[in-house]
Symmetry: none
Subunit: 247 residues, 2 copies
DNA sequence: TTCATAGTTCGATGATAGTCGAGTAATTTT
DNA sequence: AAAATTACTCGACTATCATCGAACTATGAA
């Protein structure tokens, strides 16, 4: 009997400690072993063992800088696989208020590897399709002529993006919204631009993203995108009070 | 810290026996527990335990008919997750001749849910496009006037298909060929017709499909489709001799 | 009824693998 | 140079879980 080759990779993900580390890395950052061990609440020895296995299994890659070893996801397909698993994972009931806040923050906006996901990511794609700046084509999004113009105006270097080997604009299933947001080089570039503009910020300690006041205004002006107000500044203030976000 | 809930589903998939059963069910059919146990080479007791866990975990659903209990994938997202894992799983070197044969059989022809995939599925689509019986349109295929006629002659009830809620003819990315084959109601109907004609047969114990001698002739006559000879009748005979296929 | 088949539940067993303590190596700081 | 930091390797312990034999339920056939 041929053992399916998904077993190895699935069992790697199917461990609480390793999954915790993977979820941290899903933010797209490189993190040192030390920090990943703390995040997973295990000793450095154990973490080291897990990290070695995930590198061996092709999930992670690492680079050494001095005595530090920084780990990150091996490629964007790993991120997409993690998202796909999230999509079929039963939503666990949250236990504490803090977890509830964290959950809501994640649903509202988060990074998926290196692009924007969650309510904001999906709403943005909807608007782009509605304005016919993008079109769906199989597993990808493609730019219309108007879209070409628009992204250029927004400060995206489309030629530079197309130069790379990476997929241009790929669909990625959103586990919280159960619909598609944009992955690929274009998704990453737009997200990067939003960070540069100060419209979104990372919420320390996780993958959650905060939309700044300037961001709410900018998305409204530039996209005509009015975000649902249920993720209010009120909640954001609570996150800060709980220490989940440093004010 | 919120424990990521992908752990549960990933660890469910990350077991050789369960993964074997899932890969069988990725063929799209409902299968009885008995058959799944044989496919995974485990006793019915063990299989029963695994199946219960996968139902509990939301991967499978079951329906009872008489004393039989048929299991199938809970939804298409489960299939997508399995495909996504497949995409990041390292291609294992095949150890035995028999594994090599099974791998070649899967690449040559297999079912993806309920439609034809692999080399044959992609080659068939190519021919249909070349003959202008089908055209590509976004993420779908559409029939031309000639195609309408042709599929009718082939014994496909197009009106019946269009009556359903399902997408008519959708593109589906093929993991082995890295190109599109046809999913949707039409893809399923054509595959079903090929089974009825005895042109293709399921190879017991997996998702692989065997093209019969009649099938080779039929595909040649009706489609002008000459399949690559590297999957020869010689190999097919070996499959039969190894007991992988019941002759 | 009697027998056979399909499937499950329970309990015992055995192997896998996650965990951490101790020791080693390499780099930065004092 | 010594101390502190970061990370890895090895070995032992332990808990989990896949596995199967035996017993049980339910459906279908003779």
């Amino acid at each position: 009997m041929m053992i399916p080759n998904i077993v190895e990779v699935a069992s790697l993900i199917g461990d609480a400690s390793r999954a915790s580390m993977l979820m941290c890395l899903l933010g797209g950052k490189s993190l040192p072993a030390n920090e990943l061990a703390r995040a997973a609440r295990i000793t450095p020895q154990t973490a080291s063992s897990h990290l070695a296995k995930m590198v061996e299994g092709g999930l992670l890659v690492h680079e050494s800088y001095g005595r530090h070893r920084y780990y990150r996801l091996a490629n964007s397909e790993v991120g997409q696989a993690l998202e796909a698993l999230n999509a079929i994972a039963p939503q666990k009931p949250v236990r504490s208020l803090r977890e509830s806040d964290e959950s809501r923050a994640l649903h509202f906006a988060r990074t998926c590897y290196d692009h924007l996901a969650g309510e904001v990511g999906v709403a943005w794609i909807d608007k782009m399709l509605q304005l016919v700046l993008l079109k769906e084509q199989g597993r990808n999004f493609v730019l219309t002529a108007e879209g070409e113009q628009w992204f250029g105006d927004f400060g995206i270097d489309l030629d530079g993006i197309r130069g790379g080997r990476r997929h241009f604009a790929r669909k990625c299933l959103d586990w919280s919204e159960r619909r598609y947001h944009m992955a690929g080089a274009l998704g990453a570039a737009v997200t990067s631009r939003l960070f540069d503009l100060g419209w979104i910020e990372r919420i320390p300690g996780g993958r959650a993203i905060r939309v700044t006041d300037r961001g709410f205004r900018g998305l409204e002006d530039k996209f005509g995108l009015t975000l649902s107000s249920d993720f209010s500044t009120d909640l954001q203030r609570r996150l800060i009070r709980n220490g989940f976000v440093e004010g």
